[in-house]
Symmetry: C2
Subunit: 481 residues, 2 copies
């Protein structure tokens, strides 16, 4: 068993680190800012990858792989892009024992290396759209790192698409941010607010960045995914033109979109508790642990427990047994709570006599008595579904309870540590910057979710809470990871 986890109340940051380490999800490596994703953490990433990859393919995308290295001259071709990324790059200056003629940047993102290929692949409107995704590692030299949330190297997927018109590119941007929203809500049980970023917060090189933002248990915001409309910026930087149906030579329209191993951090921070990890059933590699209570005829108990595992496995539920005698049932309960196994089945000789077993839910500790036999897999599947939905409902309720509309900057200052603040903003980067300087809060998103827009009457003009100038709409401010 692992060392004790600090409680969330005592120290939320320490709780997070303790949990990630105790549950063996990740650890810092001996390389500055780089993490090791341990098997328990990587298993979550594999489940995320499988679901996302399927959703990408269902929306017409294919996977490819582009080089890790980007020539310095490529990064420099798009002005905003170089300004945003060059300072945080790792640079290869030597290879094969010799100094390189041109430095190579380890990719911080792949727009430039990919558009230098698209230029070769795209000649005509018949070559469009090009809908490619890549699963890869990227490197951004971070000063302050935090496991999963911000590390020098991380894993992600980056979609890079090419289109014949601005409208098609916009459609793609929206399609993918909605794929992310669906994934976050249905798989991660994580409610997210979808909308645009302000100019200051958008991607370096994009015309528009769309995002999904989630609330963590400390009421801070976490950006969980982004989808960028790159306009013709990269096509112009790499001179990528195509012959349109009308025979005109036009620049190609681009999008890019990505989510990363940061999502694992979001998952932990949104749902887990002082006992350890709480995993939504859809992202749990192991969904049910069966713990035989070894009293009386031990062999008989283990045999029944094995039968339960077998019947669940046959029904597509991922189950395993811990029949080890060196640890007590209590130790096992704690260990699998730490690991976030969604359901625990306790099975002792008296339960077997009665033809029942006790099932405990990881999210709320609720215990249910279920009959052994043919109906058990179906009942457990129902419990898993219920738990998945309950986790989402709980997180949504938490976010709603901690989202406040504020009318003036005094109220803003008072409430900024207590959640998401809905407020009018005059639309200028200057006001945004001043609010950030004074409160550390940033504009997280200009929401487009209809329910939220309606609830807070977001699109009716008003007065900026900071400058008193006219405001076209309300936005969401929060402190963020």
């Amino acid at each position: 068993m692992a060392e004790k986890i600090t409680s969330r109340e005592a120290d939320y940051s320490q709780w997070y680190i303790d949990l990630v380490r105790s549950a063996k999800l990740a650890d810092y490596s001996d390389v500055r800012g780089c993490m090791i994703i341990r098997p328990n953490g990587y298993a979550i990433w594999e489940k995320m990858q499988a679901a996302l990859d399927r959703m990408f393919k269902e929306t017409g995308h294919v996977n490819a792989y582009f080089p890790l290295f980007i020539p310095e001259s490529f990064i420099q071709k798009e002005a905003d892009h170089i300004e945003g990324f060059a300072p945080e790059c790792a640079v290869v200056t030597h290879g094969g024992g010799e100094k390189l003629q041109e430095n190579l940047f380890v990719r911080p993102t792949s727009e430039t290396i990919i558009w230098s290929s698209y230029k070769k692949w795209i000649q005509s409107y018949r070559d469009l759209p090009l809908l490619i995704n890549q699963w890869a590692n990227v490197v951004r030299w971070e000063m302050r790192t935090r496991l999963f949330l911000r590390t020098t190297e991380f894993l992600w997927q980056e979609g890079h698409t090419a289109h014949a018109t601005r409208a098609e590119a916009h459609e793609e941007v929206m399609r993918m941010i909605n794929v992310y929203k669906t994934f976050a809500e249905e798989y991660m049980a994580l409610p997210v607010i979808m909308g645009r970023k302000s100019e200051s917060e958008k991607f370096a090189g994009a015309e528009e960045t769309w995002c999904i933002e989630a609330m963590m248990q400390d009421k801070k915001a976490l950006q969980a995914g982004t989808s960028h409309n790159l306009g013709q910026n990269f096509a112009k930087a790499f001179d990528c033109r195509f012959q349109s149906k009308d025979g005109e030579l036009e620049y190609v329209w681009a999008t890019s979109w990505g989510v990363s191993t940061r999502l694992i951090g979001a998952l932990i921070m949104a749902h887990s508790d002082d006992k350890g990890l709480v995993l939504p059933p859809k992202l749990a590699t192991r969904q049910v642990v069966v713990i035989p209570i070894l009293r009386g005829d031990k062999e008989m108990v283990v045999e029944h427990a094995q039968n339960v595992v077998d019947s669940l496995t046959a029904d597509g539920i991922s189950a395993f047994m811990d029949a080890g005698e060196q640890n007590s049932p209590g130790w096992k309960f704690a260990e699998y709570e730490l690991q976030g196994i969604p359901l625990r089945i306790e099975l002792g000789p008296r339960d077997i006599d009665k033809g029942v077993c006790i099932v405990a839910r990881r999210d709320n500790g609720e215990k249910t008595t279920l009959n052994l036999g043919a109906s058990l897999p179906g009942e457990l599947q129902k419990l898993l579904d219920t738990m998945q939905k309950a986790m989402y409902a709980k997180a949504l309720d938490f976010r709603n309870t901690n989202t406040f509309e504020v009318a003036d900057f005094g109220e803003f200052r008072e409430k900024i540590d207590h959640g998401f603040l809905v407020a009018h903003w005059d639309g200028t980067p200057e006001t945004e910057e001043k609010i950030k300087e004074e409160t550390k809060a940033t504009i997280r998103v200009l929401p487009e979710d209809q329910d939220l827009v309606d609830r807070f009457d977001m699109l009716t003009p008003g007065t900026c809470i900071y400058s008193g100038k006219p405001s076209l709409r309300k936005v969401i401010f929060a402190k963020a990871y």
Copy 2:
């Protein structure tokens, strides 16, 4: 449609490059020696990954992820390892705009960074075995590159395991080389010879390297996978000890094993022909293309073709239709032959009248008439299975036909361009080196496959074909990729 492919007979190397480019499998990037794996090529890698990953998990392994960067001092901890790998490393000297205090090597392989973690994770025999695999990119600064076969950056998996005894480590080495052999033979339809490498050819830092070697259509050898017994070399380099059951402090025993995107090159070189790619059905993302012959009532023909696609899809066969009118059936036949779709179904109005369709196999061009209706998916599955086996049998026959035993060095010189040569060798690196200098042939493998050992009476001592000194066994020489 793509440009014409050079024939294998005219120029085998050019044929390979033409094929890889025409079938849009991969392309060189603007970064020296780095390739772009295009969607058609990456789809093969995804099929390979899925099968291998399943086999790794079935043998008890889990996935994790370790950092891309390795501090220079780590690489230097194992003497043979640094000698083998340092000269071909890419080196990061700057990060975040500043010169680094210690250079970081981009991983050429991950033993050192992984064993620096294992040292922290392993205290007792209870922590063993540790059975971890990683899917990752690696970089080796290659002077001469060839798409898939030898590139500066490539994708691979690397297993790194830790064991309590030498015997357990050896068992793991053998288990994994056999997993690779099974994968090569059953999925890639590629016969391989399993055995040990000579001292000169083994992995830098290993006690023993086991490998699988395959023959390409130009009769050259290609190393398709390796499994290394690392002894206690890395445990000693990183001072990784564990408390044994007897309470003794002992060094941990290690293995590592890997296959890479090189396998895609092997697959192409072993099976493909002058028309393009030939893919074994088990590694084809798209197994059947249905081409409606658009004469007479076109809508009716397309509807029937769509029914065929639907019935195959429902049965788990991956099928698609090309009903486009801009290209002729002949153009489509050529295009999907180039792409290596295993089966092609031709369906015209007269076929529909007769209730049949024509099925063409990609590997040998054989055409079969099959009845439309409920029996079709089953019949096609049979054809796919038959094709998978036929491809293996053909490749095995080719290898057997081109494997010769040679009795002296004169015969060796004569036949070395014609296949694998079975010959006695005195076991010294000096003789190995001289043969290499004079003929460019290397010892590919000291075979352990029983059938091959028996066929050539490999383990009976004799006389070295080069030095005339005593030889303990026969080995296999060949020119290699």
